[in-house]
């Protein structure tokens, strides 16, 4: 008569997720119970609809882009492992993690956090933010409130500021450079309770 949640989530699985994502045992079990409550189809995976059912996410101007980040290209289901891998980007960076072996970069490193933000803009996943992509994302955020013309000039200026090689788009390296003064570690983190 153990708990239902623990019989479905095996101890080995928890260990693997722990190693991969850095979440603690109790965080994993709590997030698993959240995962199962979102999983209305009760098939162990989440679909886009499962995410869209969260009202606060549905009213988020970038809600669809954020949901998209949970799904590997071409797939429309995400399992608990994948769910946790994406969430791991938003773990705060702890002191003992800073000087780790650079070969195995943790999911919640500054670079990975930035890459996640970069991909919110990079609609076609070609590792470049074109003017068109920037415009589309801007439009999602402002809705109908700002004219095409004004939005266009905002996009132009933003690309100009970031673009270094003159290809009229922003690469990931250029993206990092522009945001080098921003406190990414804190702003792209969520305070998970232990």
């Amino acid at each position: 008569m153990g708990s239902r949640a623990s019989t479905l989530l095996r101890e080995e699985e928890i260990e693997e997720i722990k190693k991969e994502t850095g979440f603690s045992h109790s965080q994993i079990t709590r997030l698993y119970s959240r995962f199962t409550s979102l999983d209305k189809g009760e098939n162990g995976t989440l679909s886009r609809e499962d995410f869209q059912r969260i009202p606060e996410l549905a009213i988020n101007p970038l809600g669809d882009r954020i949901i998209n980040a949970f799904f590997p290209e071409g797939e429309d289901q995400v399992n608990f492992r994948g769910f946790m891998r994406t969430l791991a980007h938003f773990r705060p960076i702890e002191d003992n993690e800073k000087n780790k072996d650079p070969n195995s970069e943790p999911l919640n490193s500054r670079t990975n956090k930035l890459l996640f933000a970069f991909r919110l803009y990079d609609l076609d996943r070609d590792d470049k933010i074109s003017r068109d992509e920037l415009l589309q994302v801007l439009r999602m955020m402002v809705g109908v409130n700002i004219s095409d013309e004004q939005l266009g000039s905002i996009a132009d200026r933003t690309i100009q500021e970031a673009d270094q090689n003159g290809d009229n788009s922003i690469s990931f390296n250029e993206f990092i450079k522009v945001l080098e003064k921003v406190d990414v570690e804190q702003k792209m983190s969520i305070r998970f309770l232990h």
Binding site: S6, R30, N60, P61, I190
Partner: protein, 443 residues
């Protein structure tokens, strides 16, 4: 063979007369023999002991339990202005054109991820989490290790709940409901008179008291001086259909609702014969004007029973109060707010209608330990000058939330089934646009 039947028959007779003598009759006249009190005392002691055992068994996991009740994450609570302003601090404001930085998405992103991990709305539609295990298997999701003594205790609990309490409760509820149908139908045959009203109230009260015993309900009423009076409108937060039984134990109400089929339909049809409840056909329900008019007529007649309305329109899990639909507040008349809060330790009263139908929900209730709840009658409220129905509804809602110790949410309970309206997203976009181009230059 004959003998066996005799034994069974005698046993049945004793069982039945004990039930009638010890439970039914006292229930009908609203007196208590103190059996429930003793049961509750034993129960509280047992659960306290179980909690102690659990804690001793895993002292090191104390922290987990504490954070369980407070959630998975600590959410940022800054406004959009503050947070984006913070993000933009690292770069100067441009001279011309709109103000935008690539890091603005961090704000939306964090809000989005936070809502995926933990949100205000969807978790209100699932059973609330307990701070300590109450020895029911169904709530055992977060409590893993259990000692031998606890297991024995749990086993005894199962036997008592399923073999003793459940049959007793089912019999009582059946008798209560049958009596309700027969009694109200009989009273309905009488001509309209004060005697009829009096009898009708008596029958209703008796049935609800028997039903309450059938759920082993221990109800604490507070501030009885504020009880709804005739011609008033009683407004309460909604956790389950049992709310009606709970409130009707302490006074009669005219119910408002949709006509159901099946068992509910039979009960509804007989109830309306003896006392003016307001049932609507499904098709009529859509006609808001008609609904309001019928309610107005009822309230205008000061001899009629107070109307009971659950303005949330859906069951919430006993942790919060969600948006009150403004319709009930457009009727006029005095509003009598009532806060109902169940004690989750003895059984989860929330009806998760997406998961359980009415009958299996009631069976779950009858195999729980007991229903313990507090009912607070709040001082009557009426609409103030210059206040529209929505503001008034919100004021009443806050009062109920505050009194019941519930979280006051502005989200619509209808989100349980429907999708969120696009206008809320537009509001967010508007707010952000103002940060990009400034309030005045958007035209």
């Amino acid at each position: 063979m004959e003998e066996n039947w005799d034994v069974a028959f005698t046993f049945f007779k004793i069982w039945f007369s004990a039930m009638v003598g010890l439970i039914m009759l006292p229930a009908m006249f609203g007196v208590s023999l103190g059996i429930t009190e003793v049961y509750m005392k034993v129960l509280v002691k047992t659960l306290e002991w179980a909690t102690l055992r659990l804690q001793r068994g895993r002292g090191e996991q104390q922290i987990l339990k504490q954070s369980l009740s407070s959630g998975i994450i600590q959410r940022g609570d800054g406004s959009m202005e503050q947070e984006i302003g913070d993000l933009r601090r690292s770069r100067p404001k441009p001279q011309v054109g709109g103000d935008f930085t690539l890091s603005d998405v961090f704000y939306f992103n964090r809000k989005g991820i936070e809502s995926i991990v933990e949100d205000q709305v969807t978790q209100r539609f699932t059973s609330e989490e307990l701070v300590s295990w109450n020895l029911l298997t169904r709530t055992n999701n977060n409590f893993h290790y259990i000692s031998l003594r606890l297991t024995i205790m749990w086993g005894m609990g199962v036997v008592i709940r399923y073999c003793l309490l459940a049959p007793l409760r089912i019999t009582l509820a059946t008798i209560g409901l049958t009596w309700l149908v027969i009694g109200t139908s009989l009273v309905g045959l009488l001509p309209s008179s004060r005697a009829k009203d009096w009898l009708s109230e008596l029958v209703h009260l008796m049935c609800y008291r028997i039903c309450a015993r059938g759920l082993s309900a221990t109800i604490h009423y507070h501030n009885k001086e504020n009880r709804p009076t005739k011609g008033g409108l009683c407004v309460a937060n909604h956790t389950s259909p049992i709310d009606i039984v709970i409130l009707a134990n302490d006074g009669c109400y005219a119910m408002v609702g949709q006509v159901h089929g099946g068992l509910m339909g039979v009960i509804q049809r007989s109830m309306v014969r003896s006392c003016p409840h307001i049932w609507f056909e499904r098709s009529e329900m859509k006609d808001r004007h008609l609904v309001t008019q019928r309610l107005k007529d009822h309230v205008a007649d000061k001899t009629k029973l107070p109307i009971l309305i659950f303005p949330e329109g859906t069951c919430i899990n006993n942790t919060s109060v969600m948006m009150f639909k403004k319709g009930s507040f457009e009727i006029g008349g005095t509003i009598f707010p009532v806060a109902i809060k169940y004690d989750p330790q003895f059984g989860d009263a929330f009806w998760n209608s997406a998961k359980y139908n009415m009958v299996s929900y009631l069976l779950r209730m009858m195999t729980s330990w007991a229903i313990v709840c507090n009912v607070w009658y709040l001082p009557p409220m009426s609409q103030e000058e210059g206040e529209d129905a929505v503001q008034f509804a919100n004021r009443v809602k806050s009062a109920i939330a505050h009194q019941g110790g519930l979280v006051d949410l502005s989200w619509d309970g209808g989100l349980k089934r429907a999708k969120v309206k696009g206008t809320y997203k537009e509001q967010q976009q508007k707010m952000y646009s103002n940060m990009v181009v400034g309030d005045d230059s958007s035209d």
